[in-house]
């Protein structure tokens, strides 16, 4: 029988796709970083949900440990990215990459 885990996995796959889309289409660097976090959350949902896709499966400790590690990595990467964006803003007054071809909003 299909368990609740599968719903999380499917939601995760949708979030992953949405996040990647956001990462590509947005020019604003903070939006890109938010999109990266949404993508990451999607992966974590799949990582936890997929092993428990059948009803009655006990929670998988290994995948929980993996997600915890993944969250630590994502938080550090986001903090580092934000620090770089702030420095770029101080230097150029812009929150986008200098040679981004997209028109200014």
């Amino acid at each position: 029988m299909i368990g609740g885990g599968l719903i999380y996995a499917i939601a995760g796959a949708i979030l992953f796709a949405l996040g990647l889309y956001g990462l590509v289409v947005h020019a604003h660097l903070v939006r890109k970083l938010i999109a990266f976090n949404i993508t990451g959350s999607g992966v974590f949902l799949v990582l936890v949900g997929l092993p428990q896709r059948m009803a009655g499966t006990p929670p998988d400790r290994v995948s929980e440990a993996l997600v915890l590690t993944g969250i630590v990595v994502a938080v550090s990467a986001t903090a580092f990215g934000l620090a770089l964006v702030r420095r770029l803003y101080e230097l150029t007054g812009k929150t986008r990459l200098p040679n981004d071809p997209r028109p200014e909003p």
């Binding site: 990582l47 896709r53 590690t69 200098p98």
Partner: protein
């Protein structure tokens, strides 16, 4: 295998030593550099030599960290491929460290930022080459990318910040695609261990989707055409020792993962169409990279575009291995050896270029006139490393291309042989463009600044290693062959030191 009383601790030492060095360098700042560099290099080499000797005597090495074995603990694992990649990192890394001592001698602030990040990057590389499971590979790959981005943005100017951010966002997207593939594999098979998954994978949609996500993520990180857009600005705008380690070592990590995963974990998904497709992308990269390298105004951008071209060669390994089992080992060894000799030659090229640019104080190829007279050692290093990139004898690049040519001809794939030969000519074009400038007489009023002696010496020694790889190829090739994936090594159980 139940109890492991005295497993050799050389593998964890290879990770702990640079990690400790990074923390100490961060705590004590630039004061500590000389003694710390010497102690760390000696430590890493001792551990590595012991590991190589043990591997040579006993074979595959396993080490469960803290005696907790997988799946709860983390296993370290070293086979021929890992050992050769560790050796590559140690060789290139040592010369880059010596060079950096000279390069940052007058710039304490920059040096204080460089050393911790560089040691952390080295620790991440060693950990990646020793990883035995898919998730550990992900974590080490992220550590590698974060320290690499930090190194790109070292100088903190507008250009390097923009290049660093572009690199960071690309690297993060690549790792998440990889992690999604890992999540699917874990959901399907319930294990992360490379060795266990290798026995389980079948041709099925979930497996194909996971393999595609992992491959696209890693191709993005290895910067294969058309996913190379982030590489030239990042490698071209960084400081020379950083460019050397990015082009030489960092991109080899994701290439190593591709080799490991495709040939050992899911060889069932290696269809002829996929292999020829990746090879075709590689061939386009070879010619487009060389064309753009030839037309650069700045020396470091020229070398960065040459990296794009050389990455293309690495991917010719895939169609050559996939063609026939009889020639798979030759093609695979050729691919690994090419990665090895490119690491050494490209790092030497960037180090030599760094010394030449320090002398002329401007990153313009036009300004190099007269460098041949003022910095003959660096220029010789540049030329010798160029010989390896072109694939001329006696150099590592020659041996690697010879192995690949051999595989191409004996599997009847003459088109890849043509790419290998013509690509060498294309690299000669951009190398000679630089050499020609350097041999011209200096302009009037040209100012040449002095450089610390260690910089040209380190570049020359590394170029010497690039040539020596052609003369002493037998040792690394034998190590590779010892546990290569195509000689039935996968079937033999791993040996643990009693």
């Amino acid at each position: 295998m139940s109890d492991l009383p005295a497993a050799p601790f050389w593998m964890p030492l290879l990770i702990v030593i640079p990690l400790a060095a990074g923390s100490l360098a961060f705590l004590f700042g630039p004061r500590s550099s000389l003694g710390l560099v010497a102690a760390t290099l000696v430590g890493i080499w001792l551990a590595l030599i012991r590991l190589i000797l043990d591997f040579n005597d006993i074979g595959l090495q396993l080490y469960p960290i803290g005696s907790w074995s997988a799946p709860l603990g983390i296993d370290l694992r070293a086979d021929g491929l890992s050992v050769v990649m560790l050796g590559m990192t140690a060789t290139v890394g040592s010369f880059i460290s010596l060079y950096a001592l000279g390069y940052f001698a007058g710039e304490r602030v920059l040096g204080g930022r460089f050393w911790p990040l560089w040691w952390f990057l080295w620790a991440a590389l060693n950990a990646l080459f020793l990883s035995a499971d898919l998730f550990n590979l992900y974590v080490t790959l992220e550590l590698l990318s974060l320290s690499a981005v930090g190194l790109v943005t070292l100088s903190g100017d507008r250009e390097s910040l923009a290049a660093g951010l572009r690199y960071l966002l690309t690297a993060l997207a690549g790792s998440l695609a990889y992690l999604m593939g890992v999540a699917l594999l874990y959901g399907a098979y319930g294990t992360l261990s490379l060795a266990l998954i290798a026995g389980l994978t079948r041709s099925e949609p979930a497996n194909a989707l996971a393999a595609s996500l992992i491959t696209v993520g890693l191709l993005l990180k290895t910067a294969l055409f058309p996913l190379h857009f982030w590489l030239p600005p990042a490698h071209g705008s960084a400081l020379p020792p950083v460019s050397a380690l990015l082009s030489g070592l960092v991109i080899k990590a994701s290439f190593y993962m591709l080799l490991r995963l495709w040939f050992e974990v899911f060889p069932s998904a290696l269809t002829p169409v996929f292999a020829q497709g990746v090879g075709a992308l590689g061939a386009i990269a070879v010619f487009m990279g060389a064309w753009l390298a030839f037309h650069q105004e700045k020396l470091k951008m020229l070398i960065a575009w040459s990296t794009v071209a050389q990455i293309g060669y690495l991917f010719l390994t895939f169609p050559l291995v996939a063609a026939s089992p009889a020639d798979a080992l030759t093609a695979w060894s050729g691919g690994v050896y090419l990665a090895l000799s490119h690491a050494v030659a490209k790092a030497a090229l960037f180090l030599a270029a760094g010394a030449m640019l320090r002398v002329t104080d401007e990153d313009q190829i036009e300004r190099l006139e007269g460098v041949g007279r003022h910095l003959p050692v660096s220029l010789f290093a540049f030329a010798a490393a160029g010989v390896s990139l072109m694939g001329l004898p006696p150099s590592g690049g020659f041996i690697a291309k010879w192995l690949l040519l051999d595989a191409a001809l004996s599997t009847g794939q003459w088109w890849w042989a043509a790419v290998l030969v013509l690509g060498g000519l294309a690299s000669a074009a951009y190398i000679f463009r630089v050499l020609r400038r350097c041999f011209l007489a200096p302009r009037e009023h040209a100012v040449f600044h002095p450089v610390p002696l260690i910089m040209p010496i380190a570049a020359l020694s590394l170029a010497g290693v690039a040539l020596a790889l052609g003369l002493a190829a037998i040792f690394p090739l034998r190590l590779l062959e010892k546990s290569a994936p195509f000689v039935g090594a996968a079937a033999t159980p791993p040996m643990v030191v009693p």
